[in-house]
């Protein structure tokens, strides 16, 4: 068995750190291969992400996206469900947010629009997760398959809507019209002018994301529903014995998960762009899987993992700008290594670490009994 065998700090700090180091090491080799200095690259990534106000702002901005999608994956994971549909749910959630903004932006101030936008995003995201959830609960169609399919369906619906329905007359860009001030979340640089955040679009959605983290923590570890979700995820037989309906929990969990993913549009649509854009999700929904895995499905871990990925996104952009031979594609390769080692190869170092600790612990116990 895996978790629980090791001291907590090993599980939550040492192993992710080892995975990350391995990812950076291999990425470093790639940088060497194309004839650049990996240490120089690291320097530029760190400077780009943390070295100046605007960089920090962008890092936080990207991190906000990852928090929403990471939470979505984590919530589903606690109930033993693997929701890969964060991308599509975020996309459709963005539509809900945009509809609320388009309806209200010219009548009321932004803080009146805000609750409607949140509701719209969560409802639309949840609705998009509902059909896969229902199929899983009632028909046993695996959510991994159905949610992936629904990502494609979402993408194509949005192409249709943006280029045929929502596009303003005379415009050549497949996007909705720009929202008025009543449909725009304030950017942090206007709220906190004393902080130097440059031109970065980091906005109030950051705080919505943090509130969502608290919400998820309370839900999972402090409510009856969360208890039932975790029971189902940890031992479905025991859950049934305890009178927990797998059907009900599966559907509710997916709705919450989809709703959280749907809120990602608060940052991108209502926050940064002030309009609904084609492909605004840009893969953030998928990165959420890596974020949740790396953050051990815990809100605090997810915040940390989101910051890391935010740093890589922003620092990577800076790196591509400063060292032109490391192109944008190289940055994606480096990010992919992090996802590969932190996510897919999560158990790469575990057996060795477990063996090491077993020997260490047995040796110590042996000395005590001697």
């Amino acid at each position: 068995m895996a978790r629980g065998q090791l001291p907590r700090w090993v599980d939550y700090v040492l192993l992710p750190a080892l995975n990350l180091l391995a990812a950076f090491f291999v990425s470093g080799l790639v940088v060497v291969l194309i004839g650049e200095d990996p240490f120089e690259a690291v320097k530029w990534i760190l400077y780009g992400a943390l070295g100046y106000g605007e960089g920090i702002g962008y890092t936080l901005f990207y991190a906000t996206n990852f928090i929403f999608t990471g939470l979505a994956v984590a919530v589903a994971f606690h109930a033993g469900l693997f929701n890969i549909g964060g991308e599509g749910q975020a996309y459709i959630g963005g539509l809900g947010i945009a509809l609320a903004c388009l309806a209200l932006d010219h009548i009321v101030p932004w803080w009146v629009t805000l609750p409607f936008a949140i509701l719209g995003g969560a409802l639309f995201g949840a609705a998009w997760a509902f059909i896969p959830a229902w199929l899983q609960a009632k028909r046993g169609s695996h959510v991994v398959i159905t949610t992936i399919m629904f990502n494609y369906i979402a993408a194509n619906i949005m192409v249709y809507l943006l280029s045929n329905v929502m596009i303003p007359k005379g415009s050549m860009q497949p996007a909705s019209r720009n929202f008025d001030v009543g449909g725009q979340l304030p950017w942090l640089r206007t709220i906190f002018p004393s902080f130097d955040l440059g031109q970065s679009p980091v906005n109030l959605a950051l705080f919505i994301a943090l509130i969502a983290c608290v919400f998820v923590w309370v839900l999972i570890w402090r409510t009856k529903l969360g208890f039932e979700m975790r029971s189902l995820g940890a031992n479905p037989t025991a859950a049934e014995y305890a009178g927990i309906s797998p059907l009900r929990i599966t559907i509710i969990t997916m709705l919450i998960s989809g709703g959280l993913a749907g809120l990602m549009g608060m940052n991108e649509v209502m926050g940064a762009q002030s309009k609904l854009l084609l492909d605004f999700t840009a893969g953030y929904g998928f990165v959420g899987i890596a974020v949740a895995l790396m953050g051990r499905n815990h809100p605090v871990g997810i915040i940390l993992a989101s910051l890391l990925f935010g740093l890589l996104y922003q620092g990577g952009a800076e790196l591509a700008f400063e060292i032109p031979s490391i192109t944008r594609d190289m940055i994606v390769v480096i990010q992919a290594f992090v996802i590969l080692f932190a996510g897919a190869l999560e158990h790469l170092f575990r057996p060795a670490v477990v063996a090491f600790f077993n020997r260490f612990v047995t040796a110590k116990n042996g000395q005590e009994t001697a």
């Binding site: 978790r3 629980g4 309370v218 402090r222 409510t223 009856k224 208890f227 039932e228 975790r230 029971s231 940890a234 031992n235 037989t237 025991a238 049934e240 014995y241 305890a242 009178g243 927990i244 309906s245």
Partner: protein, 526 residues
């Protein structure tokens, strides 16, 4: 009921004197702290049908897995035809002439019979030669052993009995001299089982050796020449089938643990709290597991359900506790009449005053990854006293868990420790505390002392008696005869899903042993 399909052939007796086909010496195997096989000796004569009988979890399958190379033994030696053998994997086992027919078939449903038979023995990159050879060989085997199967039939479309035949053919095609069959009749209809036994007899008469793993006594009596009994990882006896009886085997399987003294006054039963009528449970494979069971448990009495495990007791408990839905029948619990159309589920049953200590605490009663205090509310997590507004009242839950730890002497006394890290006895106490402290009217208890140390056994028994004396109706399912006899006020015996008899607690072990072997009142013991 007592006639045999065929008497052991004379050839079998002669074979006994030769070098044994299989000999195991001192085989031991542990999985972590669990000892699955302990110092096992076994001699299987050439050309005989040798049964290995024991309850679920007695270690039969582990032993066979060692012989077939799935597991390596921790200790001991294996001799095949008198030669010492090392069997690191099943490929080696096959090379040494051992074939296995698993309980769950290892067949590709969408392949034809001939494709399945040659799977893993294709003999080259191109299939045409292999297919031709497999076809020829199949025809030969069909003639020799009278096992006809259409070589081009799709396996998934064949009835289960024929699928099993394909498995046997597969083993023979690979040159098996020793055939291991693991619970072969579990999935078969009686007619198919008879057919299988005829095939096994032909195989034996042609000089093959058959090892039959089962927990069904009747099969052992029907078909085997020799029988070995396993109990809790040990080989407790080997008998010539002709010289033993079902009731002796049943007793050997269940075993006599140390007789435990239970202090108990005569029961004073009150009104009926649990009444079951004509209950039938059909599993997902369509097999009837519980057949027309009717029973009554009154307030202030313990009704013991005895029987060799796997005779429908688990399904009975699951149906009564609301985990699975019965097929037909009616359950009346504390005045609430439930039939199949009613709202169902474990939560509903708890609401009506039923609590349930399940047979398998790891799979069902506990969530191993959760800390103690979270397990102490499992199933009752919706109760008002555990909630505070929209959230769970963690402080109250912890406080109550601490009180229970104190009251039930659960060690170590930690509410935060993962349940997996408690010993078996303490885990069982956690479950028991939860199911007793909710003050139910009806208590279902399954195998309350399985894998529990002596001290805890006594404690658990005392608690169960206390529940009875407090006027609760207790239904106790156990495979431990002593436990049943010392706790119950009335005993019913289940065999093959049916209740075959009822006795008082003074019933003798032999008497109960006969019932457990399926010999009904009025029948002559075999």
């Amino acid at each position: 009921m007592t006639e045999r399909l065929g008497q052991p052939q004379a050839g079998a007796a002669i074979a006994q004197s030769e070098i044994p086909a299989i000999e195991l010496r001192g085989i031991g195997k542990s999985f972590g702290p669990v000892v699955a096989n302990k110092d096992i000796d076994l001699v299987v004569g050439k050309g005989s049908i040798h049964g290995i009988i024991g309850e679920n979890g007695a270690g039969k399958s582990t032993l066979m897995s060692i012989l077939y190379g799935f597991y390596g033994a921790d200790t001991g030696e294996i001799f095949i035809s008198g030669k010492k053998a090392k069997i690191p994997d099943s490929k080696t086992a096959i090379e040494k002439g051992i074939g296995m027919v698993h309980q769950h078939f290892m067949l590709v449903d969408t392949f034809s019979v001939v494709e399945n038979v040659m799977l893993g023995a294709e003999g080259g990159a191109l299939l045409n030669k292999g297919i031709a050879q497999a076809r020829k060989e199949l025809a030969r085997l069909a003639d020799e052993y009278d096992m006809r199967v259409d070589p081009d039939a799709i396996v998934g479309e064949l009835p289960v009995g024929l699928q099993q035949r394909v498995e046997i053919l597969k083993a023979l095609y690979r040159g098996a001299d020793v055939l291991i069959l693991d619970e072969p009749t579990g999935v078969l209809t009686p007619a198919e089982a008879d057919h299988l036994f005829r095939i096994l007899e032909v195989l034996r008469d042609q000089g093959k050796t058959v090892l039959l793993i089962t927990h069904k006594l009747r099969e052992i009596m029907h078909i085997t020449d020799t029988v070995s009994v396993m109990r809790r990882g040990e080989m407790v006896a080997t008998r010539k089938t002709a010289q033993t009886s079902m009731s002796e085997l049943a007793e050997l399987m269940v075993g006599r643990s140390v007789l435990l003294e239970v202090d108990k006054q005569p029961a004073s039963p009150g009104k009926t709290l649990l009444k079951v009528e004509g209950l039938n449970v059909v599993d997902e494979r369509g097999v009837r597991r519980v057949k027309d069971v009717s029973l009554e448990v009154k307030a202030g009495e313990i009704l013991g359900v005895a029987g060799v495990s796997g005779n429908g007791q688990s399904q009975l408990l699951a149906a009564l506790s609301g985990i699975i839905r019965a097929h037909t029948g009616q359950i009346e619990i504390v005045g609430h009449k439930l039939d199949l159309s009613d709202k169902h589920g474990a939560a509903v049953m708890r609401e009506y005053g039923m609590s349930h200590v399940p047979e398998d605490r790891h799979k069902m009663g506990l969530i191993n990854a959760f800390p103690e205090y979270e397990n102490s509310i499992l199933g009752y997590h919706g109760a008002q006293k555990y909630s505070k507004g929209l959230t769970l009242d963690i402080a109250a839950i912890r406080k109550e868990a601490e009180e229970r730890i104190e009251k039930y002497d659960i060690r170590p006394p930690s509410t935060e420790l993962q349940v997996a890290k408690f010993s078996g006895g303490n885990q069982q106490k956690i479950v028991l505390a939860r199911e007793i402290e909710c003050d139910p009217d009806v208590l279902l208890v399954g195998q309350p002392t399985r894998g529990v140390d002596i001290g805890a056994i006594e404690y658990i028994h005392k608690r169960i008696i206390e529940m009875r004396d407090a006027g609760k109706a207790v239904l106790l399912v156990s495979v431990e005869l002593d436990e049943i006899r010392s706790l119950s006020d009335r005993i019913i015996v289940m065999f093959d899903g049916e209740i075959v008899g009822e006795r008082g607690p003074e019933a003798t072990e032999t008497d109960l042993g006969c019932l457990m072997a399926g010999v009904r009142d009025g029948d002559q013991p075999s």
